[in-house]
């Protein structure tokens, strides 16, 4: 009777992962902290807005001196201020509390510092003095320009859109870089979240002495594939739990969080780059998963397997040390090396794909390499699990594992 046990393995592995208290503690800790940060930021921003508004509207008794000649006396009068006859006397008045504040504008406020003296009202309230001093300077400058549009232009607040061309075709710019780089982000998240679990996924059978029962009940390929699939499902659950507060924060609290509005229409989605990105992600995932499972199969304990995890993580971060070279000179020797070396290839190729410097031939070679090596390593992992997992307390060498085959 043929048995289809993949579903049983996936169901068992997913259920026991998702019903573990430890899983939910480690998964929820990030969104909970994020939620707390959002709440604090919202509260803080609300308080700051109120404070700024109140400070702008605050009726201060203040005096000023103006060596620049930019400050408009009528404007100062509307704010409730007066020209100081003697700066030293004004400062003395502030010290005694007879005057709320005194502003000393220098000859050139663009290069020299404007001095603000005020009665201390606590760290959060003291900001109103510099707010009023700055508001006076800006309003006086706008009044001197005499045109609101010119005034806006002087502040550099003019919208500019660039259009560039590559091979006679309009290039996507940064809007064309972001979508394919999303695959790189997903690759990092998946490997960082699940890498350690991949490494230790087959160790439990060894540590709990259940390998022989499993090997005589279930094809090891089914077990390994089932574990990989279940890890992927668990990873998706984790990603949803992680991203949900970010999405909620963006959709419902964007203004309170001072988040910029993200215009999706500015994104340029190139189908070829997206397909290449997706294939690089899948191939890289296969290779890294196979390698981590294979390493786990020959290690006797999670502690010893963990030492290898650091090396694997270093390999996916190495290309970032040469990221400027990857972007500016993709044909440099080191970039070519990173592009084709199997364990640095996914990140390097995804970066180059995002920046449009990965040729179709290079993309094809890397994708084929990743899938081919990934499948070979996965098969090796199954073999190592089969012959290495019954060496319960020993670290198994490749030679030993193959001697049993």
């Amino acid at each position: 009777m043929a048995r289809h046990n993949l579903g049983t393995v996936v169901s068992f592995e997913v259920t026991r992962n998702l019903t573990k208290r430890r899983f939910w503690i480690s998964t929820l800790i990030v969104p909970v902290i994020f939620g707390i940060v959002i709440a604090l930021v919202v509260l803080s921003n609300t308080a700051t807005d109120k404070s700024v508004n109140s400070q702008k509207n605050a009726k201060l008794t203040f005096s000023y001196s103006d060596a620049s000649g930019y400050i408009d006396p009528a404007l100062v009068a509307s704010f409730g201020g007066t020209l100081a006859a003697d700066p030293k006397a004004a400062i003395a008045a502030v010290k005694s509390g007879a005057l709320d504040a005194y502003f000393a504008y220098p000859a050139d406020p663009t290069t020299q510092t404007t001095r603000v003296y005020g009665v201390d009202e606590g760290i959060f309230q003291n900001g109103k003095y510099s707010s009023v001093a700055t508001a006076l300077l800006v309003a006086s400058a706008e009044a001197k320009i005499g045109d609101a549009k010119l005034s806006t232009l002087a502040q550099g607040a003019a919208p500019v859109v660039s259009t560039t061309y590559k091979d006679g075709v309009e290039a996507g710019g940064i809007g064309g870089v972001i979508p394919p780089l999303l695959f790189l982000a997903i690759f990092y998240i998946v490997i960082l979240l699940l890498g350690n679990q991949m490494l230790t996924s087959t160790l439990e059978e060894k540590e709990d002495r259940v390998s022989e029962m499993i090997l005589t009940t279930l094809n090891p390929t089914t077990l390994v594939v089932g574990k990989v699939v279940s890890l992927f499902i668990v990873g998706i659950v984790q990603m949803i739990v992680f991203t949900l507060p970010i999405i909620i924060g963006y959709v419902f609290f964007r203004t309170a969080l001072n988040l910029p509005e993200f215009d999706l229409s500015s994104l340029d989605i190139n189908p070829w780059q997206m397909v290449v990105g997706a294939l690089l992600l899948a191939g890289g995932f296969t290779l890294f998963t196979g390698t981590l499972v294979a390493v786990g199969a020959i290690m006797p304990t999670a502690k010893e397997a963990g030492q290898v995890f650091g090396i694997m993580m270093a390999l996916i971060f190495v290309p970032f040390y040469a990221v400027s070279l990857v972007v500016s000179d993709p044909h440099a020797f080191i970039v070519q090396l990173f592009t084709y070396f199997p364990y640095s290839a996914p990140v390097t190729a995804m970066l180059r794909n995002g920046f449009g410097s990965l040729s179709p031939l290079e993309a094809t070679i890397v994708i084929v390499e990743q899938f081919a090596l990934g499948i070979i390593v996965l098969r090796l992992a199954v073999r190592l699990f089969r012959y290495g997992s019954i060496e319960y307390s020993k670290k198994v060498s490749l030679k030993t594992a193959f001697a049993r085959s």
Binding site: E212, A403, R404
Partner: protein, 308 residues
């Protein structure tokens, strides 16, 4: 898995297993017939577990044929195998019922049937209140009971038990033997590795003794007893016992001796030899060598602790 009843369920021919330059098992051949209980005996390191692992496809044999039901074993065609390995263990951080149900499903039962069977079994072995506990909260003996349940839950046609009573107290050992008896009555073929010779004499139809990876003896228990001088004579006497090609004096005191008969010799001939040599025979009783005696005789020179 249906085969002609006459064909052996397990068929091993010229099995050889090398690990690197070390030969662990060489030229091993034996059959296990359907419905019989077969004792697989030998000292530690004699190759028993290696043979079982090769039979079950965990190791690839260096040479020879290892068949169950006429074909090499694989999990895909092993629906009705029950295997209790020497290295015991289940998923310790999972609940008893979850682990039993999981293995039941892997062995082809529905989730409902696997859970129902597991609850019935836990009742029988006095663990009904432990179903939802994590396995690592159970004692070692309780964990072994659960593992035995996992082993037999698919109504196995072939039950392979590697030292099944290891770690059991006498009460639970009897319970385990009752369960094995039930499996036999249900038609299971049992391959049992054990160092408890009284269990072998009570349960096994045939045995094989392995020494240094070779079959030292093979057959029914009386066959093996015959092979090792099967009969022992206990004698009280006066006089001098002469040397003879028909027996070997394994114990010789002033008035008492134990003589191991060599080959198939009529006890009356030995008695006649003694009388003719002038020995005054006061009592003369014959008994067969126990498997325990034979085990000590075969492996005694290895100076090794049995059952370690």
């Amino acid at each position: 898995m249906e085969q002609a009843a006459a064909e052996p369920l397990v068929h091993i021919r010229d099995f050889r297993m090398d690990f690197g330059s070390t030969t662990v098992v060489k030229d091993l051949s034996f059959d296990i017939n359907r419905g019989e209980t077969f004792g697989f005996l030998g000292s530690n390191g004699s190759g028993k577990t290696t043979t079982i692992r090769a039979l079950l496809g965990i190791y690839q044999p260096t040479g020879g044929i290892l068949h169950i039901n006429g074909q090499p074993f694989s999990p895909e065609n092993g629906d009705r195998l029950g295997y209790l390995p020497e290295e015991r263990g289940l998923y310790k951080k999972e609940s008893v019922i979850d682990v039993m149900t999981y293995f039941g499903r892997l062995k082809g039962l529905s989730k409902h049937d696997a859970a129902a069977w597991s609850h019935r079994y836990l009742e029988r072995v006095a663990l009904p209140d432990k179903a939802k506990l994590r396995l690592d909260k159970l004692s070692g003996g309780e964990q072994q009971k659960v593992q035995l349940g996992v082993t037999i839950m698919n109504d196995p046609e072939l039950l392979i038990l590697d030292e099944p009573t290891k770690g059991f107290d006498p009460v639970n050992r009897r319970l385990l033997m009752d369960i094995i008896d039930d499996q036999k009555k249900a038609g299971a073929t049992v391959l049992m590795v054990t160092h408890q010779m009284e269990e072998v004499e009570r349960l096994c139809d045939r045995v094989i003794l392995l020494k240094d990876g070779r079959a030292e003896a093979y057959g029914t228990i009386p066959d093996v007893q015959d092979q090792y001088g099967g009969t022992m004579i206990r004698l009280t006497y006066s006089g001098e016992i002469p040397d003879s090609p028909h027996y070997e004096a394994s114990l010789r005191d002033r008035n008492y001796a134990e003589l191991t008969v060599i080959g198939k010799v009529d006890e009356a001939i030995i008695l006649r030899e003694l009388v003719d040599a002038g020995v005054l025979v006061r009592s003369f009783t014959t008994t067969r060598l126990s498997l325990d005696d034979i085990f000590v005789k075969v492996y005694g020179d290895e100076n090794e602790l049995v059952g370690a």
